[in-house]
Subunit: 346 residues, 4 copies
């Protein structure tokens, strides 16, 4: 049983069906087909606003194309010190912005605090010696599996906008956050002050599909060029559009996310009842972080369970990720194993 | 009937079947799965050499990641003036190389000439005032639908290597060239002096799949980082690997390319027999360039045929692209229509 | 006697005196001193308009910082095929713009033609596959030593502005052009539609001093950051300001340029009278291009005269550059030598 | 009296004399003159090794050109959190490296610790998701006015080299460190494992002159292109070479640095004797950091003394910088003023 990542999972069957259905003969390439336009319209309806959406295949591409609209080459992007853009994108934000630098910040349970940002922000604005504060990037859900409430985002966005910065959200797990908070897409994005959102599907059942959503279409004027010269403009755009159409149809995306979240809740509940296990973060999406004795970790690995230590190879905190296709028996099996091994220690 | 591009076509059914088969539960992401490794091995066998292959989803990504290995930011890349990298990638080569500039050159029927390159090359090498000659990029097949023979490539590669330059091949239509020349992959690549090849599948039946093939693995040492920070590392790499495995299995790729080539040959033969039609280039792959009277172009468009004028909107040269799924009746229909309209003029 | 370049010359004595005078104790660094502000004011008066000026030490820095305001990373900059930015800046324009590409164009006597630009320009505007036309860069005086009249510039600027492009002037020899045309700085710049000017002094008696002049100060908003992160912000800005103040004081700059021009005129007149010599370009600034028999070139080199063949090592066209400190006897000596050697051939 | 920076000072008279002497007629430009070569030779002798030196005009240019040799675009450069490259170069390191990111670290009195680096370093090496550790940059003297001993540098360099990283030294105040430690240039650089050194003169009496010194000449192969395309290649190179020749002649550089250091020592000694004053860092170069009551700071400013609060506008720690031309009476005047005001409080 594999709890390593939502990237180890396969694809929701609806995705494959949608690709098969999209194999319907010649179409205008590069996104000028009817299906690609329908997805654009669907996103506008879903977010209750006019917006510009650009489809890409990877989360990194979505994040850094979005950030490239917000930060000049001499800009600074504030983010959590465990953010995917800070740790796991091999410098892609600097590449796509032409040199902007990240300013990683600590924050409990993966969240940035508006107060801390307010403290940092005025310094250096307008002084040519210093790189210039340009954007704040939040992860929703966060890398610690927590979610920003609409009010949290608003508070941060107000600090940002007051100082001329923009707000980016890495929504690789946006569906999971939405499902957990039971909020509307609009309330968790532009209404709270978000300027650009990476709207992820790849971690939630798609093969490889993401959308960069820009809530002020004027801000997106250069994005077509940026996507093309990044090599991210698909000729057969239907490959991405078909996935996204299926993803949004009949609320599939939220059903998939809700399932993953539910599995995480059960896993957390099961593990929390075991004395040797300590829950590290509140469980608000599809991951569970627990601290275990080293002995127990070794036993689980020997049993064949797969998961990562967090954040380094010597850590006794492990991350357990549930996905759209995690089965209740997988969860029960893991809980049972931990319970059994914990028992052996006494 | 649509002769606009090999990008307007859908997908070979084998591709969808392969994706369905790849949906087989949890796998290690980012290319560390068995299928991704099998494709690597298959490519080594096919090219009869050790090589490093990196899978990406778009031809632009493949081209510019490959070029980024060959040209420093102050480098010059020589290419044909109609090359895709020169005209249709929105500056992506400069982006990925960190600033290298293209030096577009004329050349009959889309081909560069070794003699012309030999004339240009020694100048400025080692002089800090000048951008430094770094690479030659060929398209195989060319944008004019012609193919470089192995001897053509060798001659160019010799000029290149003599002056310390590397050779890149944009093989978006490598399969079509191979099918036309009936040559081995090795003979048309590393044995002729090619250093890096964009091995394309997207234009030949895949959904979106390409491989950057580097014949000297040592040269590829940085490519993993480059692909990741370009946002081109797929988490669910099986999406690309499954396509490529199906593409190579049982010679599917060559069958598809041969079909497209055959359709182009028939189209060319049919059109060439019509007095008002002039073939612009020898037909050696899956495109036919013909010059027609403006009247005739208008009549075909009115009939509903789709194609592009080449290279500008006022041109009376049109490009007709055939694909893996072009039907004989499509070809016959177009030839018949041209014949009919040509007849009306007399 | 050295006719290789205006870069081989030393410094006008006024420059050294100005530096000595500027050594007057502590000053606020980075351009916030009174002298730096005075030069800004002087430039505004000279150009009869409000403007933003940024001082740097090299012509390349001035050119590419200016261009970085005009072209996005996916932009195209049109220039003459012999332009300094095209041939002699080792890719610096791509570096500072983040990837913009040059589109070199032919043009008689070093000049671009408005008609040719008008023909090229509409193509591809707004199409994401293509790099986007962004700017036209003129050299004044040109690399062929000719000058654009105000009407020439206006015609080009009108084409540029009609299509949303900006106009840059590499004015490394702006003083020479002004002196030759006897025009006002305003008439040869913003009144004719120039957006950004590299205002050069280094080739005309300064040690190392240039100004990037931006005629719409709003356009210059990012230039302070760009100069700093390019490493071109001098801490002891008085080093540059003192030179520029002396340069502009009492018309020194025009006196120096006029002298260099006069020397070129005499040289041209002297050489043109010799039968074996062919003037290649009209002489409108401080250079003379002549074609000579190879024999004669060899004889002059043997005599110890120094000059460059243009543009390559096998050319029999040589470039003779006069400077602020070229002496009449230098000119006479060269003319005399050519006459003598030309005589020997008969 | 101005204690703001070594940048507020003027020039040592020897510099102006050297420039006047260099105004000796035509010379081959771009560093191919005899004086430029002499300085190269002098630096080799001084550092007791073969080395490659590239002259530039600003400290930022020296730092980032040097770093561009050491870090790939996906590289990480470790530095102290108060390093000039981290705080005061507006993102120039990312610009010149093509995207490398800084990893600022804390460290007592401005110094990095080898132990802390050893702890951080192995993580992520070779993993494509992560930016790759590439270089460690030290400031000598540090921004806190302390100096690394040769053994400190060796320890850090050993950690660096063990993990495949290179060592860069920002030597804007290298002369001051050398003067304080009474060490040889070689012992404080390549013998201790330094790969690239920014050898500064601008803060120590020059107008604007620095050298990027690369101890392994092979490593410097691309530096000529990098300097040129950065716009930092002076045509009249003698402008820089004359300054550097005078700087090194007869130990002028060490005399100037020693004077500045001595003034700092006297200032520190005088201030430390005053009860309300707290020395913040050991004084090892030409700066003194002291903490004072806010009242006292206000009184000194009212007296007309000039200095900066460190590092922000609300701080009661002030930085007092002495320079090559600080007079004993300036120091005495400041000490006396502090003593007088301190007295009034009691």
């Amino acid at each position: 049983m594999d709890f390593r990542s939502d990237n180890t999972a396969g694809f929701a069957p609806e995705m494959l069906a949608a690709l098969a259905a999209a194999n319907d003969g010649a179409r205008t390439p590069y996104g000028e087909d009817a299906q690609s336009r329908r997805v654009q319209t669907h996103l506008c309806e879903l977010f209750e606003t006019d917006l510009a959406a650009f489809f890409v295949a990877t989360g990194t591409a979505a994040n850094v194309l979005g950030l490239s609209l917000l930060a000049a080459p001499w800009g600074v992007i504030y983010c959590h010190e465990e953010a995917h853009i800070a740790l796991d994108e091999c410098g892609a934000p600097a590449f796509y912005t032409g040199g902007a630098q990240l300013h990683p910040l600590p924050g409990a349970h993966g969240r940035l605090s508006a107060a801390r940002l307010a403290e940092l922000l005025p310094d250096g604005l307008g002084v040519v010696h210093h790189a210039q504060p340009a954007a704040i990037s939040l992860s929703q859900a966060t890398e610690a599996v927590t979610c920003y409430r609409a009010a949290d985002i608003s508070a941060i966005a107000q600090v940002a906008h007051t100082h001329g910065l923009r707000v980016h959200v890495d929504g690789a797990r946006f569906a999971n956050a939405l499902a957990f908070l039971d909020a509307s897409p609009a309330d968790l994005s532009w209404r709270a002050g978000v300027d650009v959102l990476s709207f992820g599907a790849s971690k939630n059942g798609a093969l490889a599909a993401e959308a960069v959503i820009v809530f002020d279409p004027a801000l997106a004027a250069s994005l077509g060029y940026r996507r093309k010269r990044g090599g991210h403009l698909f000729s057969k755009m239907r490959v991405l559009s078909a996935q996204l159409e299926a993803y949004l149809a009949d609320g599939l995306w939220l059903r998939l996310a809700r399932h993953a979240n539910t599995m995480a809740q059960r896993l957390a509940a099961g593990l929390a009842a075991i004395s040797e296990v300590r829950l590290v973060h509140p469980v608000e999406a599809n991951e569970v972080f627990v601290q275990l004795p080293e002995r127990l970790i070794g036993q689980l690995l020997a049993d064949g369970f797969k998961f990562y230590r967090w954040l380094d190879d010597r850590s006794t905190t492990i991350r357990l990720v549930t996905t759209f296709d995690t089965r209740e028996t997988d969860v029960a099996g893991l809980v049972e194993a931990v319970r059994r091994h914990a028992g052996t220690a006494t």
